[in-house]
Structure formats: C-alpha cells, structure tokens
Amino acid sequence: MGALESGECRYVMLSYGHSALSSDGMLRMLGEFEVEDMVFGHFGAAAAYALAARRAMHVYRTGPGTWQHIAIGQRRWANLNPRAMMYDRPMSAEEYFNARWHVEPFRSPDNCLITDGGRACIITTAERARDLRHRPALVMGMGHDHPARSVYRTLDFTGGTGAKKAGEKALAMAGITLGDIDACEIYDCFTYTVELTLQDYGFFGPGEGEDWFRDGATEPGGRMPVNTSGGLLSEAYFMGLTPFTEAVMQLMGRCGERQLGPATRTKDPEIILCSDNGGIFQSHACYILRRP
C-alpha cells in the first residue's frame, strides 16, 4: 500500500496458485515443519488446530454442535457458487455428524479442501481505479498481529489470538465498529478457526458461538453472512486469497446467484471484513473493505 501511495509502483498483483490436489505438495508442506512430532505420529496443521479446538471444548462451550453451523452454512453458500468444489454437494446436519473423523474432534467437513488452481487480485490507487471498467473495492482499514509462539508455548489456543489486536487495529483505522460490518470473509482452514476468529474480533463472547451461529445467522438469508463463496471449507483452498477476493467480488457486485443483497435476502453490502491467518494461530491479518 505504501509503495502504491508513494508512487513507487502503480499496480500490485496478489496471487496464489498451486497444484495441491494433483501433487503431494500440500501434504509435504504441512508435514515438514516439526520432525520431532512425526516420531509420535503427529502430522501437520489439521491435528494442531484440533489440539486447540479440543482444549477450547474443555474451557468453554464449543465443539461439533457449534461447528456444524459453520460447515453447513458455508456449504449452503457454496451451493450457490458454480466455481465451488462443493457446488453440487449439499450437506445436512445428519451428514455432518455421520462424516468420518479425521483427527478427532474434527470430522471430514471441519477440514478445508485441497485444490488445484489459483486466484489473483490487483491493487492500485483509488485515483487510478476511478475510471476502470469495473467498480473497485476500497481498503478502509487493516491490522496485523503475529504472536508467533509455537504450539509448545502458545497461550492463545482458546482466545486472544492475533485476531484480537489485528481486528482492533483494522477497525480503528477504518473508524468504524463491528456494528457497521455487513458481512465477513474469514480464513477458515478449519471450522474452529472461524469460531475463534469471530470470537476474538468480539462478535460474541467465549462459548457463545453456538447461539450466535444458530438459525442460519451466517447462511444465505442470515443476519451476518460469513464466507459467502463457500470459503476454504467448501469453495476452494487458495490461502488468504479465497476470503479476500470474495470480499472484493461481493463489493464489486460480481457474485451472481450468491450476490449479497436482495438475491440472497441479505443486507446490500457496504462494508465487508476479511481475515487471514498463518501457522497455528501464529499470525493474523484483518482487512476491512468498502464500496466506493
């Protein structure tokens, strides 16, 4: 952003591409970081997030009863998105609870997808964007926080992740409060990540997620749409670019059947909050975008 504002460059492309599904690249990337853990049969991110999720189940009210709403809600959005890997695969609560365990307490639909493909987004100045063919989305605020502690030393498996400070900084820069947000696009490597991120942003208190997500609150027709493309769980895994580009596309009004507004019985989106998250809750970025 600084490079654009100073005039040092005119356009920046954020891009991600991977042949993760047709190669073993993703598994190798996830399995490589802790050699010592492999000795005990511990491999990669799913199990590390599952360790965090299990601890949270011990500390406050959460678990599959909460996560079903996240998995099913996002699947309903994916069913409106022809690009989503799960477009033609609806999921009921019964199917969620009957799905096989991977690393318990996560069932198969609590895990993100593995995808071949990519996504890109072009950033320029608001002035340059003014006479482009498509209406742009504007960056209102952003915040980052990187607690960086390893799972051996983490203090924030159950709250107080980087989302807390990053969210506060982004809201302060945007000059708004959570009440001004029309929809959220949250980095959702696992269902629990969505719960903990929204909890740390302050949408609800610890353990209140089950009630907050209930009755389709985040689904088409809901009061706070979350992950309207289907997200990493049900659209495709393109790291932080799945949520980020979806926020941009929604504000541009280019989302077809899943477009926020009258088409999906939701609020016309003025402001959308999106998140990215790295490691095992070790780094976090929050972006708030708005319509011009």
Binding site: V35, E36, G41, H42, H102, E104
Partner: protein, 136 residues
C-alpha cells in the same frame, strides 16, 4: 505390510535429550540465569536469551493440556495404530511435551488428566517418552 515409523533427527541441541531417553531418564534444558525449563531443545533460553544452560532430570509427571485422536494414518508406519492419541502434556516442571497417551483407550483421555512417563523402545537406539494415566 508394516512400514517403519519415523525416528528422531538427532542434532547437537537434542542429543542429550535422546541419550537420556535411552537410559529412561526424562531430561530438559534449564536456564541457569532465569530458571526456565524449556522444550523444544534450543541453544538459548526463549525467555531471557541466556546461553547458560544445564540439563536437568524431571519427575515425568504432568497433566494433559490437550489431545486429539488420529483416525487417519498420515504415514504408513501408523496404519496399525489408529485410532491413537496424540497429546500435549504439561510437565510439572514446566515444559509442554507432545507425545502419545498409552495404557488406556482413547475414550478415557481428557484435558487436565494426570499422566506419567511410560517408556517405549522404538529401536535399539531410540526410546520414546510416552505417557500413561496416573493416580492424581
């Protein structure tokens, strides 16, 4: 057909740890400057950055901070083990250690469960510190 499980990659930092394990002694580095007992093994103290380090034996007692049950084998060496438990054990002396819970069924494990070290030979050279339930 069973495939071999992975073995630890022993380096200058971790050699004293794994050598003690072979003798069924659980040892960690203790910072002589601030007293912090650390894991993973590291050249300097993550709390105060002091290089002044001593290896000390610990009681082998702790509690389960969190745990998961693997129903999928991500490595062929673990195919005959599923479902098995991986847990983060908070040792009484401070360090948090990732290991397996043995000696009970996965259904019986819970957060804050008292456990103690249970040694398991992986090979002639490597003995692993695993953990089993203990009386509180």
């Amino acid at each position: 057909m069973s495939e071999e499980k992975p073995t630890p990659v022993i380096n200058a930092d971790t050699r004293p740890f794994w050598e003690a394990c072979r003798n069924r002694i659980l040892k960690f580095q203790k910072c002589r400057a601030c007293g912090h007992v650390r894991w993973p093994a590291a050249y300097l103290c993550p709390e105060c950055h002091s290089l002044d380090t001593l290896w000390v034996p610990v009681s082998g007692k702790g509690t389960v901070f969190s745990y998961v049950v693997y129903h999928v084998a991500y490595h062929p060496g673990f195919l005959s083990d599923v479902p098995y438990v991986v847990a983060l054990v908070d040792l009484d002396e401070g360090p948090r250690f990732l290991s397996n819970i043995t000696g009970c069924s996965p259904d019986e494990v819970y957060c804050d469960m008292p456990v103690e070290v249970a040694w398991e030979d992986r090979s002639a050279e490597v003995t692993l510190p695993k953990f089993r339930p203990r009386e509180a």
